[in-house]
Symmetry: C2
Subunit: 376 residues, 2 copies
């Protein structure tokens, strides 16, 4: 594997390069929304007093700048793309925290839990629109082809649409007892892979790179997204709360059908059955099932629930401990580790398909390894 | 005033013209989101069974097609713009219903109350992105200048950003005791005027019309938006529930600081004071106020509430009746009626600034009069 020294420098350099454009973009928001977004980004406390709280690592903007450089352009060409994907990513975090009912992110209360659900919905909506404004106003390279900002905006809309569809699948899965490994991976490809694919190629789009180059970088990002999600799901069960910023065993407590759980359930056998009953509750008895069906024939049923009911209350600490052990025994942990490695290899392979500028190529690879080896 | 006969035909013609493109756009959504959007648009019931429920009148798409025609182009050139503004409008309705806690729209349960808040957030997000996809993929007129879809997308993003900022102001105003008439009108210009201004000019943008033409049509739409909101606010207090589809006196019940209320409060005098106490609750006593201030100096205060507290529970039916009378006696009803007429006149005046194609010019004017004279 490529050594990962230097990645903190890449991330710090990116933060510095995009900071003025990020501030300028957020400054365009109305004062109330600006406060909520500044709070979310760790730039201010809830009363608007400046601070510098640790938040995301900024993987997506780093990919965006490196993709411009890898396509033989100045990294700064990728800045509008880096800002746009960072805005979209944060729009999705703010809305996801409402949808999932999460009250804490990076050891701080989430936007909706501080400012209310209504304001958090509006803040996310505003960031989604702002991202397109940034791109559609991006200056075209002097002497270059016109419409690169529009092409980048179209690529961003495509990535965002896939991300939102993935989030819809995720919500639908929560209500279902059976989710196959294939469905789980398709959901992760949409929810995480599409935006990372966009991030890793948007700088090349802005640089006017050939289709093959843009495609290879997009595939790199999409595969990296799957590896990223695999690691995220591992950390959601076995991560150290001190470094992840989330409660221990958070995903199992919330009965999330993450990769390790879905893989473990698919393994079959007694322990998988015990895990299924623990995470999804006892299988519904036939009588209750029939009553539900009759209700539907009556035309009295509400919207389709997508299958049998799954309990909503969180698992107890003892149940989380037992479920964690069962996921591991059923091979869910190892399966996910293998998938993380396989998607990392596929990502690195995609970079070999075209001729990229050597140093940014190396840094993209370093960043990918860092993503998979991270502990938070 | 121009006669309004023919407006139902204009709206029906628009519905028919954009139907295939609307269906094609919604078909791109993931199955769960597609169901929620189809339900919201009145195309299906909550279980996905086809139906045709009455929903919005489709003013915005009609403006979009007419603006292409007014700019001497075929109305069909405006179709991607018409679809995009209709998608943005419906995204805002779905999210607004969550934010306002409204359970009914057009006599049907709102999306969030049927499918849950999480799914409704996702459905709105998906429509916001879809609108940009539709525009960024719009074919340029053969032989015409390139980048018209991108210009339309940029105009839509600008209109959407203003609309969202207006919604943020609206939410902020709910927590405040004092909102000036100027602030109220600025909020309406952002929340309603900006997207109507976009709708009334986006067809001209897609037609490649000169800046002056686009500007005149945008001003027409923005002024029409203020007239539209004035009428909406009048209907929100004095409208017939049978035609509006909302409970009688809905806006006063919810203590909304709509135009008639803000104008009435600004009138001053005993009856305005009574109205203020009824709608905003008794003025906070000085002791409570001081305690709040000390809390803030302690650094113990939460996020800024934007002023003194306003009660949140709905008004009783008797209180709504009394408040309705007080708004009228303080001149709030007449003031709003005068404003509706003044903004309609300003809208019609904007159309005179440039040379537009005669028939669509006349139909735009008819539509504007219809909007102000509507009763639902």
């Amino acid at each position: 594997m490529t050594p990962t020294t230097g990645v903190p420098e890449i991330l710090a350099r990116t933060r510095e390069a995009i900071a003025p454009a990020m501030v300028a973009a957020v400054d365009r928001l109305d004062p109330d929304t600006r406060l909520q977004v500044s709070y979310h980004l760790g730039w201010a406390d809830a009363a608007g007093r400046p601070l510098s709280a640790p938040t995301g690592k900024g993987i997506r903007p780093a990919l965006a700048l490196l993709s411009a450089a890898a396509a033989w352009s100045d990294p700064s060409v990728g800045i509008p793309g880096a800002v746009a994907v960072e805005l979209i990513h944060n729009f999705s975090l703010i809305h996801d925290d409402i949808i999932d009912g999460d009250t804490e992110r990076h050891h701080r209360p989430t936007v909706w839990s501080v400012f209310g659900v209504g304001s958090a919905i509006i803040a996310g909506d505003a960031l989604e629109t702002l991202a397109h404004q940034v791109l559609l106003e991006a200056p075209d390279t002097p002497g270059g082809a016109t419409g690169r900002g529009a092409a980048a905006s179209a690529a961003l809309a495509e990535g965002t649409a896939a991300m939102i569809a993935g989030q819809a699948m995720d919500v639908a899965f929560e209500k279902r007892r059976n989710v196959s490994v294939e469905e789980c991976m398709a959901m992760c490809a949409a929810k995480t892979g599409a935006l990372l694919g966009c991030a890793a190629s948007i700088g090349a789009v802005l640089a006017g790179a050939p289709t093959a180059t843009v495609g290879a970088l997009r595939d790199f990002g999409a595969q990296l997204g799957l590896a990223f999600q695999a690691v995220d799901d591992l950390l959601g069960i076995w991560g150290d709360p001190a470094t992840t910023g989330k409660p221990a065993g958070n995903d199992l407590r919330q009965r999330k059908k993450s990769m390790p759980v879905v893989a473990a359930l698919a393994a079959g056998g007694e322990e998988a059955d015990e895990l299924r009953e623990l995470v999804l509750g006892p299988a519904p008895d036939r009588v209750g099932h029939l009553v539900g069906a009759i209700g539907e024939f009556d035309g009295a049923a509400g919207p389709p629930t997508g299958g049998d009911p799954v309990p909503q209350e969180p698992l107890s600490t003892d149940q989380v401990t037992r479920a964690t052990l069962l996921v591991e025994r059923c091979g869910g942990r190892e399966w996910t580790q293998v998938r993380a490695k396989a998607h990392l290899d596929a990502a690195l392979g995609a970079l070999q398909r075209v001729r990229l500028s050597a140093l940014p190529h190396r840094e993209l690879a370093d960043l990918a390894v860092f993503v998979v080896e991270r502990e938070s």
